[in-house]
Amino acid sequence: MFSVLFVVKKQVSILERIGIILLVSGVAALVSNSVHPNRIPWVQSWSHYVEARAAKQEIKVIPLSVALEKFQSGRSRFIDARSPDRFSDGHIPGALSIPFESFADHFERVGELIDSGRELIVYCQSRDCDDSLMLAAELKSMGAKNLVLYVDGFELWKKHGGEVER
């Protein structure tokens, strides 16, 4: 009887302690996110995020680490969806400039690219820009199947030491 009571008491005390730790963590998170210089909103809509929109359109998305691997392998073709000015300031080596704003002027090149069957990796400036997503959607509607959206953008590529061509 005593041993059963002892075990029950011990389990209750462990549960109490678990509760305290969960509570302390919650308070720490609350305080930290109130004073943090890089604080984030507690609730945020992710549905407008480029990745979420790409998922809805069934366009495959890759991060920087995978884009770098694909660049090293040399088997994929990078497509820069930014403006010509930004492209000439610096771009991923070997990338083709097809600005989304003047997409219609590049129909012929786009057709050739799609027919080549090579994997096409579309990117723009940052995670927030959606030119690459819109360009990828156009390419997909034109029949591109081997299509990927590099979502971290040129900004992070450059920041993390990716090769740059001017």
Partner: protein
């Protein structure tokens, strides 16, 4: 103290220190909460409105557990139970995403954009940590006997 108890004590301490060091990786999540929230979002397991709340809470839960494991002996068993649940959840999340074909990092130990994508190696590592936590819990009971 018997020889067996000494062995269990050694196993317990070794496991606790390794787990604490692993959990201390939460420091960079605390420093850059937006990147960790993105890593949590990329699991696509939570409704959007919960992503930031869960990511902010998880990073502090990991950190509090790490500090507790190292410096608050009275709370170690309770912390080990929490850590056991955390590792089980993380492992499950990674397995689901691998089956879905995700190419993103799990955000377990690094939230850098250069972090390697999750793989079955991540599952093996998490399973090993799960086993280590189980070992620590088992040893703590044996020491108490």
């Amino acid at each position: 103290m018997t020889r067996d108890q000494k062995i269990y004590r050694l196993a317990y301490w070794t496991a606790c220190v390794i787990i604490a060091v692993v959990l201390l990786a939460a420091v960079h999540k605390v420093v850059n909460p937006a990147e960790f929230a993105l890593a949590v979002y990329r699991f696509h397991l939570l409704p959007g409105f919960l992503v930031n709340i869960v990511s902010l809470y998880l990073q502090w839960l990991e950190l509090v557990c790490a500090v507790g494991l190292l410096f608050v002996p009275k709370y170690r068993s309770a912390i080990l139970w929490i850590v056991l649940m955390l590792f089980a959840l993380f492992t499950g999340g990674v397995v689901i995403n691998l089956l879905r074909g995700s190419v993103f990092s799990c955000g377990c130990f690094s939230i850098s954009p250069l972090a390697y994508p999750m793989s079955w190696l991540s599952v093996a590592r998490n399973a090993a940590l799960l086993g280590l936590t189980g070992l620590a819990l088992y040893s703590s009971r044996k020491i108490a006997d």
